[in-house]
Amino acid sequence: MTKRQMYMKMLLSSLLRRRSRMTVALLAIAIGATVLLGMMTITYDIPRQMGREFRSYGANMVFVASGKDAMLKLTDVEKAAALLPQESLLGVAPYRYEAVRSNMQPYTVAGTLFDQVKKTSPYWNVEGGWPSEENELLIGSDVAEFTRLAPGNTMTITGRDARQRRFNREMTISGVVRTGSVEDGFLFMRLDTMERLTGRSGEAEVVEVSIAANEAELSALAARIRERVPGITPRLVKRVTQSETSVLSKLQALVTLVTLVVLVLTMICVATTMMTVVMERRKEIGLKKAIGAENRSIVAEFLGEGLCLAILGGLLGVVFGWGFAQTISMNVFGRSITFNFALVPVTILTSVVVTAAACLIPVRRATDVEPALVLRGE
């Protein structure tokens, strides 16, 4: 047997044959590693999770026409949308506005793609149904209140087409929308219906875009679109993106702080356990020194034990931490967590560093044990 094999034998025997004490130390490290990995996973995943959550509060980018053009070309919009990361792109809703009248009252009607509006503006509260047929209309709650119209009623709208010819169309109200904003005073119809009525197609005045991205990423995407699609001027919806960034950074700072507190608590817990281990093994240390062990041998044995516990505790922490993060994500965000494998070595390495730091004082104490105590029968 070589000295290295004997060292390993002593290490493993100490760990395996003194299970109860070692289990306590292992648990302390594993719990710390669990919380660490869980928190780091959540910190890493918060922008993705919260980004999607924030998207329910509306679009975070709008496209408007560049220069003096009043209208955007939908072909340009398609080009611009193709430049966006498709996995993060939640919806692209074009809006085209026309002035119409109904019962002599002026209204603004917006033509849009309702399947996209549902994605970019999930906060729209629709009573009744979304327009699905060509002659269906969605009216704002203020309009509904003013006209005393309700889903199922009809509304006749009149306006002028591209050649200034008058059009007149009786439409069925599919639903009433309430947003608490300007939309409450508008009428909405399918974009293709509006194109047919006005005889003009392939245009929009504004396009609302919803992307799961932070402010920096959005700015980079906007710059890219500005450069590659000259007909479009992308703009960030500052009130949304800035509050997102602010909330996210605060949340991440909070989670980081909690993680640090957990690390310190773990260190105290491991240090206390190792201290107890040293106290319990004073006689053994004294004996080893009495029969000729150098201080460095004692240090190597204790640190070796600590290292084994740290690696094992770190591995357990990875498994339990993933479960912990997954549970939190499912309960808080209602979505599955994305596991970042780069956090595995980070967790194990942190466990090793924290355990080594926690072992420093106990190990120093171990080297201070006098060999003479084995003769005193203490």
Binding site: M6, E284, G292, P371, R376
Partner: protein, 228 residues
């Protein structure tokens, strides 16, 4: 070889005083010579200075004054690290409470002394256990051994690195009569083979096996007897 060259241990005017004001004089001007192959017993009541003397001879403590010459080397001025090396190379320790490492088998407990000393030789460690009659208990943990068996493992561990001096602190203090006899027979055999043995004991029946006995009281040698 003259007697001076044959001395394995010499204590010259060794004193040990504890406490800031020198209140506790554990040893006072002790002079002692142990020749190679001699069996010395140190006896005395509790508090007489036996353990202090054992600590000094065993390189686990340094005297306040005087000189301790072990195997021709003055150990009183040596650093703790150098004292560790001397313990490792020249002294075999036998304890009243055996002090076996609880998570290692009997064989591994013997091999631990080899590990700290130089090279591991499992066959030699097993031979040492055979010498104390425990070859069949080599794979047992200390808790699976009787007190007498544990003490024999402790003796095997003390012998494994061929020490110049065997220091035994109350080696039969925790044993019943039958095991006491086994351990004393072992020490007798070691002595017959030429080992130098120093035993600290309360028990006259242990002390009477030694060639020479010194009696301590209040840190002084009050009597020296030669038994044979």
């Amino acid at each position: 070889m003259n007697e001076l060259e044959n001395n394995i241990l010499e204590l010259k005017d060794v004193s040990m005083i504890y406490g800031a004001g020198g209140q506790v004089k554990a040893l006072q001007n002790i002079n002692l010579t142990v020749v190679q192959g001699e069996w010395l017993a140190i006896m005395g009541p509790s508090g007489s200075g036996k353990t202090t003397m054992m600590n000094i001879i065993g390189c686990m403590d340094r005297p306040t004054s005087g000189a301790v010459i072990l195997d021709g080397q003055d150990i009183t001025k040596l650093s703790p690290r150098a004292l560790t090396a001397i313990r490792r190379d020249k002294i075999g320790l036998i304890f009243q409470q055996f002090h076996l490492i609880p998570y290692l088998t009997a064989l591994e407990n013997v091999m631990v002394a080899q590990y700290y000393h130089s090279m591991i030789d499992e066959a030699e460690a097993l031979q040492a256990l055979t010498r104390v009659g425990l070859q069949d208990r080599a794979k047992h943990l200390p808790r699976q051994l009787s007190g007498g068996e544990q003490q024999r493992v402790c003796i095997a561990r003390a012998l494994i690195n061929y020490p110049k001096l065997i220091l035994a602190d109350e080696p039969t203090g925790n044993l019943d009569e039958a095991n006491e006899k086994i351990v004393l027979d072992l020490l007798r055999r070691l002595h017959a083979e030429g080992s130098t043995i120093i035993v600290v004991t309360h028990a006259p029946e242990v002390g009477e096996h030694a060639e020479k006995t010194i009696f301590l009281e209040h840190g002084r040698v009050v009597k020296t007897t030669r038994n044979r």
